[in-house]
């Protein structure tokens, strides 16, 4: 197998305040290969965004602090780079698209000026060539009448069109890796469908590597090749999209897919945070046994169905059919419904 374009290992990012230290990302590993889409899935507070923003150090430090881990991008460990070098990589080779496109757009410049600037900073093109390329990029991301709209300001675009512009700016420097954090979450479904089509198309033609951060399994099903499921700063399950959707292995992933029995035990309380001992999910897990409350989060182990899961049931001394059997049962009932 070829070398991954990006390899994140044992990543730990915490937020330190006067009162407490929050381990937002607590030992996370994943790889991204050229031309693939890796989805990082989780609920709010799972650490999925922090994990992605740790890659190029977009987080404000302090309060954020990269405590440990390696982020090897094309052979270079980004965690050791000085900010100036990192800035070159950011935007140039790793571009970000956010849920709120305003985060990558300035309200005071036309979209053309912003595209041209992005190209100039990253030495892609300048002058007339840059403007022509800007029009071409807007056309590429599906902005109608790009030669006119290139001179308009972000506020003159609708939400969906603004996200297209943000994607155009992200692509201006011809990056190798696009980190898209909930890029369609704020959009209507019909607009989301257009954007998902665009992302699929861009990835195929540009052979981009994409990290897609999302809470929505439907978006994952549409775009992703592989999936990382995060909960409370930990990776719960990791595998190909086919394996994970065919049979989610971790009880948490199963819960995300809609297990009724889990919902009853949910701890939905702001001041009741997840435990730091044992499996992070044990208090909500319908299969929890004393072993789940010991030690640290179990390591990601092969499940026998392709993916890996961080659940004690997949080690040698437990019977993984306990977790699996429930899964099959639920599949049958959901089919009947």
């Amino acid at each position: 197998m070829t070398e991954p374009l990006l390899s994140v290992s044992n990543l730990r990012t915490q937020f330190r305040t006067d009162r407490e230290t929050v381990r937002a990302v607590d030992g996370v590993d994943f790889d991204v290969f050229r031309g693939e889409t890796l989805a990082i899935v989780g609920e709010s507070g799972s650490g999925k965004t922090v994990a992605c923003e740790s890659i190029t150090r977009l987080l404000e430090e302090p309060p954020a602090e990269l405590v440990d881990g390696e982020v090897v991008f094309d052979g270079v460990d980004l965690t050791t780079l000085p900010e100036a070098t990192l800035r070159e990589i950011r935007g140039n080779r790793i571009a970000h698209v956010f849920q709120n496109p305003q985060r990558s757009l300035s309200p005071v410049y036309t979209v053309g000026e912003q595209l041209v600037e992005a190209m100039a900073i990253h030495d892609v093109a300048s002058g007339t060539a840059a403007r022509e390329r800007a029009v071409g990029l807007l056309d590429r991301v599906g902005i109608p009448r790009p030669s006119v709209r290139v001179d308009e300001y972000p506020h003159q675009f609708s939400g969906g069109m603004r996200q297209r512009v943000a994607i155009a700016i992200a692509l201006a420097a011809e990056p190798d890796l696009l980190v898209a954090d909930e890029p369609t979450t704020a959009l209507d479904v019909t607009v989301q469908a257009q954007l998902l089509d665009l992302l699929t198309d861009l990835q195929e033609t540009l052979e981009l590597a994409v990290i897609l951060v999302t809470h929505d399994f439907r978006v994952v099903a549409e775009l992703a090749d592989r999936v990382v499921v995060m909960y409370d700063g930990k990776v719960m399950e990791r595998g190909s999209v086919g394996d994970v959707f065919d049979g989610p292995a971790h009880p948490y992933t199963q819960a995300l897919f809609g297990g009724e029995d889990v919902a009853d035990r949910r701890v939905d309380d702001a001041d009741d945070t997840a435990p730091t001992v044992g499996c992070r999910f044990h208090r909500e897990c319908p299969h929890a046994i004393p072993d789940c409350r010991r030690g640290d989060q179990p390591p990601l182990r092969p499940t026998g169905t392709g993916q890996r899961a961080a659940c004690v049931y997949y080690d040698e001394s437990h019977d993984s059919s306990v977790v699996r059997a429930r899964r099959l049962e639920r599949e049958v009932t959901s089919d009947e419904r």
């Binding site: 056309d139 006119v148 089509d197 809470h215 994952v220 099903a221 939905d268």
Partner: protein
């Protein structure tokens, strides 16, 4: 369930004037809600579904009296409450509870949540603090919280808990109807399920009728009995959730459902994608408001064109017309007009092809306006020319020419 609907809305309109100048002369109107009619039956959950800007929240706010309607009537339990004041209005407000999407903006951060939940009681004249506390405490327990939460402040609660509090407050006056505007949209899926389960329990316990405003097809499917689909200020279709979602009769409903990705990686690449953007409610399209984007827009009888070709040709026509209006060149970047709109060369109908070619030559020659006129005269559609009447399709009202004698 008695025969008469608890809430009956007819031709509801909420227009916002666009004014200009010192004397605030009205120069136009934003037709946010433009003639909406439906009934909410006793004990049922009716979804009002649509995308942002379609007017669903404005419709909800208008019918509960948070905004003044500019037209139409709202009848509640038989009485006209549209412009009611005094006792009728107070009574109506007591009997309709409301829940909003963002609990943070509906709770005062400096008021203990128990007081906030009890606030409607005080507004409606309750002076007995102990009784108020007893009622609120009982409600807190009913929504899955406890008496010990009474004196806490909003920031101490999770999003899901805040929506539970919002439900408690909506129920404190013992209403018959709850209007819930995207009550679970800001929550994680698992918390959504919990809150919806709670709403279902409360509905049964209090015998509630619920008007449920949502953009989320999954939530509507799992929670609602009937659905009304809204597009650009109007309802396009309404009926039982199963029928509408299994066999949508209006092309917009079909597009809305088809644009939700399947929960199966094996089915990727099958999304329905619409061309163009939602129209402007200040200047809605003529005829059927969906016609500028409708994949099933009806071709004129003179031409024999496949559906996709006809859609692409109309897109091209509208683009040339827009450019002519703005005095611009409709051509974009280095792609030809045909390429930009996916119009095949040649079209499968030679007569249509001849017209298109002449029009494209006009555009080449810089006579965009002449080209636009040529296209507009030849490529007409009933969907643009006439407002579709409401037709009953298997007992559900649908407004689409495909279902009257103009379509096929």
């Amino acid at each position: 369930m008695s025969g008469e609907p608890i809430l009956s809305v007819r031709d509801l309109e909420r227009h916002y004037p666009i004014t200009r100048g010192l004397f605030r002369r009205e120069v136009g109107r934003v037709r946010a809600v433009d003639g909406v009619s439906f009934d909410l039956e006793r004990g049922e959950t009716l979804a009002l579904v649509g995308e942002s800007g379609c007017g669903k929240s404005t419709a909800a706010r208008t019918l509960v009296g948070l905004e003044d309607p500019t037209g139409g009537t709202v009848r509640f339990d038989g009485a006209d409450v549209t412009t009611a004041d005094g006792r009728v209005a107070t009574d109506f407000r007591r009997r309709v509870g409301m829940v909003f999407q963002d609990p943070d903006s509906s709770f005062n951060p400096r008021m203990p949540v128990g007081e906030a939940v009890g606030e409607p009681l005080r507004i409606h004249g309750m002076r007995d603090e102990q009784r108020e506390r007893a009622i609120v405490t009982e409600l807190l327990e009913l929504v899955g919280l406890s008496a010990s939460h009474y004196d806490r402040y909003p920031h101490e609660f999770s999003g899901g808990q805040k929506q539970r509090l919002a439900l408690a407050r909506a129920l404190v006056l013992d209403p018959e109807v709850v209007v819930a505007d995207e009550p679970v949209s800001a929550l994680d899926r698992r918390v959504q399920d919990d809150v919806l389960d709670l709403m279902a329990d409360l509905q049964e316990r209090f015998d509630l009728s619920i008007l449920f405003i949502s953009h989320d097809v999954d939530v509507v499917r799992s929670f609602c009995d009937r659905v009304a689909v809204m597009y650009l200020g109007e309802l396009v279709e309404r009926g039982p959730v199963e029928t509408v979602f299994e066999e949508p009769a209006h092309p917009y409903t079909r597009a809305l459902l088809g644009s939700v990705p399947a929960l199966d990686p094996g089915d990727r690449g099958e999304l329905v994608t619409l061309t163009g953007e939602v129209g402007d409610p200040a200047d809605p399209p003529t005829g059927c408001r969906f016609h500028p984007r409708c994949p099933a827009v009806i071709p004129p009888p003179e031409y024999d064109l496949p559906r996709e070709e006809w859609r692409a040709l109309l897109d091209l026509r509208f683009a040339v017309a827009d450019a002519a209006d703005a005095d611009e060149d409709p051509r974009t970047g280095d792609r030809s007009l045909r390429e930009a709109h996916g119009v095949p060369a040649p079209l499968s109908d030679p007569d249509a092809e001849a017209v298109l070619e002449r029009a494209l030559t006009d555009v080449e020659d810089g006579a965009t306006e002449r080209g636009a006129r040529r296209l507009a005269e030849a490529f007409t559609t009933v969907c643009e020319a006439e407002v579709p009447p409401e037709i009953d399709v298997d007992d559900r009202p649908v407004t689409c020419h495909r279902h009257d004698d103009r379509g096929d």
